[in-house]
């Protein structure tokens, strides 16, 4: 009790040091998210946001006649 573990005290850095690494890592992740978003916009996924919601209602595609082409 009262004695700090030896390994930590010898580092002589405040315990928040890890933030120097975590913040840039978080920003990097955010950057990846932005790249993904940019890709989604460029490939037109936001051009029509209404029809896909209805398309999920259409589930019996192959009941009457099979599609000749995929």
């Amino acid at each position: 009790m009262g004695n700090a573990p030896r390994g930590v005290s010898t580092l002589a850095l405040p315990p928040v040091t890890v933030l120097f690494l975590l913040i840039p890592a978080a920003l990097l992740l955010a950057g990846l998210g932005v790249l993904g978003f940019r890709w989604a916009v460029r490939s037109g996924q936001y051009d029509d946001v209404r029809t896909p919601a209805l398309r999920m209602l259409l589930d019996d595609e192959d009941e009457t006649s099979p599609k000749p082409n995929g």
């Binding site: 933030l19 120097f20 916009v41 460029r42 936001y46 209404r50 009457t64």
Partner: protein
């Protein structure tokens, strides 16, 4: 007794029985087929087509799942010219793009799609037609993207297949929509990046608000500040540029005019962003002072969001108006020297070429008739609802519909050189030249800048006793917190929400200033044909025997003429068959029905005046501005009909409403003055406000003159109204008319009639209510913010909380507006 015998033996169907296809009441004239009752033949045909193709079960099941479903499509007859054009090599080369494997991709506008079942049906194309490889429908824009193999399936077969189910497919001319889509995607990307930057800046700011400070934790605090600076630099340079560019343009404009009033809202927005950024960057580098990065980044992102929503609302309305098709058909039947005919593009025609126009087709060129006699429906160009007889040697104009017999026309002008082409060219040019009207919020911009600068000076002077540092801090705080974020969002958001709601009820508002102008409208100029009236001939008055009506209908059934349609429509459903029917262009029809000789046509052509009472009736109809039609049986007059364009049932109530709202109504018609006078009198309009026989150019001049003293709304539906629609403060084109009018009008309704207009007036008043409420709220916020900043109460934390809150309140007002769908759904 006789009545029950003559009526067909039908099971009785109550008038309120829902139609088996569309679900609307079948009324008292149902179409009965295969044990189902339909409201019209169109619905019956689609029902039939669906069940024959074995698609009915799924179609109706999927449609039942989609609660947003409106009235489904009715069968349409595809335009032969459009179909023929789709298969030409030139069309394939110009309007389709190659994809791998020799396939082509094309985008079609499909009128009539409205619900999940339509998506299902249209996207079944690959399974139904061999050679179609993929079909994708964008419901909101009504665009169908197809991948197909032109060698295995002609595009016309696809269009014909869609037409069976009531979808009218037309080629979407590409260029315009692509530019809009690209701009919207750019803005969306920009908005996404701005939010990502703002979110991360907020996370870093959290550390400062929870106690991280440069004085106590030097390294980390500096690190966080520099990172924020980096994020903010990207956001200001990339996303903020959107505002700086427009602000700069407005400053140059104001400088040129030496007028502060010219500054618009982007100027104070840019000022706030730049001052906040500069102060924070300085504080980061010098190591003391406060940083506002999170506030200005959230502000930038929020403003971009409202810009994006505005752009999107505009695109949806713009795309709807792109469904507008070339009025003049792109193809014409050229009669070659050897007598054969060839389908060619209208722009390949030379002066004096001969063009054949079949009955039912639209005249593709301006020219002179060299062969044949027929009657033409010129309503699209002149608004004249009565067909006009043409003979050899007479002039015809592009856009007119040939009604009765084939005509050969010598070409005098094609394309933009035709009269209709010139009208459209004017509309296009005026549309491009028209400066966007500054919106209410933008007009406040200059005033706002002035006030903020005065307040900033006051804040500096008030802060000076506490030292120059404090004074400067207060100035920055004031400039940041009174950055008109909410003010900048109030108007575009309210408009975007209003336009979106309006679009769902079939009203498309292409330009936001229409919302502002509509409630202020003092004069409403109404076109007659198609707007106040049904736009087609109907039998309005009859005198004589009902039996003769059935005999006349027997003859008229063989003709395409609108008079024939009207007579047939007035007759009982079971008419006998006629034989040996001959048509005399511009005069009438004669033939034999059950051993009796029947003539239907112009009174002068029939030349019978016995009995006198019927001849008098014909004269009276003529004097009333109706088109008299006489029916003679075995050489003796049997029936007198007065035909005209019937008033829409809701027209009188609509005009009363306009008068109650203090708006003056004018009736402007290209039709004969006597016809205009009859309609005006029926509506109780004073004579001086009813003008007949006005040319398209005259309409434009009238509206321009009126617009000098009043706020004018022009309502019309034809090409003849297009120029006047453009000249008015607000042009509204109503549905069912010429699609070209939609291009000219900042507002257009998909549905015919006057009901959309009432909704438009109500709705735009409510939209403006939301705009004003939003503006008032953001003003209150800005005043409070400025006062607090002068008192030195504004810290970055206060700004970070207060600014988004004020924006949220404004968003709430915009979304909560009770306009269009909202207000009418409950009633």
């Amino acid at each position: 007794m006789i009545d029950t015998l003559s009526a067909p033996a039908e099971p009785t169907v109550a008038p309120d029985t829902p139609c088996a296809h569309c679900g609307l009441p079948v009324t008292d004239a149902p179409v009965l087929q295969h044990g189902h009752a339909f409201c019209c033949t169109g619905c019956a045909v689609v029902f039939d087509a669906l069940s024959q193709a074995g698609l009915d079960g799924s179609y109706y099941r999927v449609r039942a799942l989609d609660t947003s479903a409106a009235r489904p499509a009715q069968a349409v007859a595809p335009d032969a010219h459009v179909l023929a054009e789709m298969d030409t090599p030139r069309f394939l080369a110009e309007e389709t793009t190659a994809v791998e494997g020799g396939d082509r991709r094309v985008t079609l506008f499909v009128d009539g799609v409205h619900c999940a079942a339509c998506v299902w049906l249209a996207e079944r194309l690959p399974a139904e037609l061999d050679g179609v490889h993929a079909a994708r429908l964008d419901l909101a824009a009504a665009r169908l993207t197809l991948t197909f193999d032109p060698l295995r399936v002609p595009l016309s077969a696809v269009a014909a297949w869609l037409a069976r189910f009531g979808y009218d497919a037309r080629p979407a001319r590409q260029a315009a929509t692509e530019g809009r889509t690209a701009a919207e995607r750019r803005m969306l990307t920009k908005m996404g990046i701005a939010w990502a930057l703002a979110g991360n800046a907020m996370l870093l700011a959290f550390a400062f608000y929870s106690g991280l400070s440069v004085d106590t934790d030097g390294g980390l605090a500096h690190f966080a500040r520099y990172l924020s600076l980096a994020l903010a630099t990207v956001s200001v340079a990339y996303a903020g540029m959107e505002f700086f560019r427009r602000a700069w343009a407005s400053i140059r404009f104001a400088w040129h005019d030496r007028s502060l009033a010219r500054l618009h809202m982007d100027v104070p927005i840019s000022l706030g962003i730049l001052v906040g950024y500069a102060q924070s960057a300085w504080a980061t580098i010098t190591g003391h002072g406060e940083v506002w990065f999170d506030s200005i980044l959230v502000l930038t992102a929020a403003l971009l969001t409202s810009r994006y929503l505005q752009l999107r609302a505009r695109r949806l309305a713009g795309e709807a108006s792109d469904r507008l098709l070339a009025l003049v058909p792109a193809l014409a039947r050229r009669v070659e020297h050897d007598g054969t005919e060839a389908l060619v593009h209208a722009d390949e025609l030379a002066h004096d070429d001969r063009v054949l126009v079949q009955p039912g087709e639209v005249v593709p060129v301006d020219g002179r008739v060299v062969e044949g006699a027929s009657s033409l429906d010129n309503a699209v160009l002149t608004g004249e609802s009565r067909p006009e007889a043409v003979r050899s040697g007479e002039r015809v104009q592009a856009g007119a519909t040939n009604l009765s017999a084939p005509l050969v026309v010598a070409v005098e002008a094609t394309g933009d050189a035709t009269r209709v082409g010139q009208l459209l060219a004017f509309v296009r040019a005026a549309d491009a030249a028209r400066a966007p009207t500054a919106l209410l919020a933008d007009r406040l911009g200059g005033w706002f800048v002035g006030t903020v600068l005065v307040l900033a000076a006051a804040a500096f002077l008030l802060g000076l006793p506490h030292g120059p540092d404090v004074a400067l801090h207060r100035v920055v705080a004031l400039l940041v917190i009174s950055c008109p974020c909410a003010l900048g969002m109030a108007t575009p958001l309210a408009f975007a929400v209003g336009a979106g709601r309006a679009a769902r009820t079939g009203l498309f508002v292409k330009r936001e200033d229409a919302f502002e102008a509509l409630p202020k409208t003092t004069a409403v100029v109404l076109d007659k044909t198609g707007t106040l009236t049904e736009g087609r001939m109907t039998v309005i008055e009859t005198a004589g025997s009902a039996e003769a009506l059935a005999l006349a209908a027997a003859l008229e059934r063989t003709s395409l003429h609108p008079i024939a349609r009207a007579v047939e429509g007035a007759a009982p459903p079971n008419v006998p068959d006629a034989t040996d029917v001959t048509a005399e262009a511009g005069s009438g029809l004669s033939g034999w029905v059950g051993g009796r000789f029947v003539q239907v046509g112009r009174p002068a052509w029939i030349a019978a005046s016995d009995p006198q009472s019927l001849a008098d009736a014909l004269d009276r109809f003529s004097a009333d501005g109706l088109t008299p039609v006489a029916v003679a049986v075995d050489g003796r007059l049997a029936l007198a009909l007065g035909l005209g364009d019937a008033l829409r049932p809701e027209a009188p109530a609509f005009l009363k409403r306009l008068a109650r709202d203090g708006r003056t109504a004018y009736l402007l018609s290209g039709d004969h003055p006597s016809v205009a006078a009859r309609v005006g009198a029926a509506l109780g309009l004073p004579e001086e406000r009813v003008l007949g026989g006005v040319s398209p150019e005259g309409k434009r001049a009238f509206v321009e003159r009126l617009a000098q003293t009043e706020t004018v709304a022009m309502v019309g539906d034809g090409v003849n109204d297009a120029a006047a629609l453009q000249a008015a403060h607000v042009g509204v084109s109503v549905g069912g008319g010429a699609l070209a009018a939609r291009m000219a009008a900042p507002v257009f309704a998909l549905h015919p009639g006057l009901a959309p207009l009432e909704r438009l007036f109500d709705g735009s008043a409510r939209v403006m209510g939301a705009v004003r409420a939003g503006l008032a709220l953001s003003f209150a916020y800005n005043v409070a913010g400025a006062l607090a900043a002068m008192a030195g109460l504004v810290t970055p934390l206060v700004a970070a909380v207060a600014m988004p809150l004020s924006s949220l309140a404004v968003i709430g007002i915009a979304i909560g507006q009770r306009s269009f769908g909202r207000a009418t759904a409950g009633s």
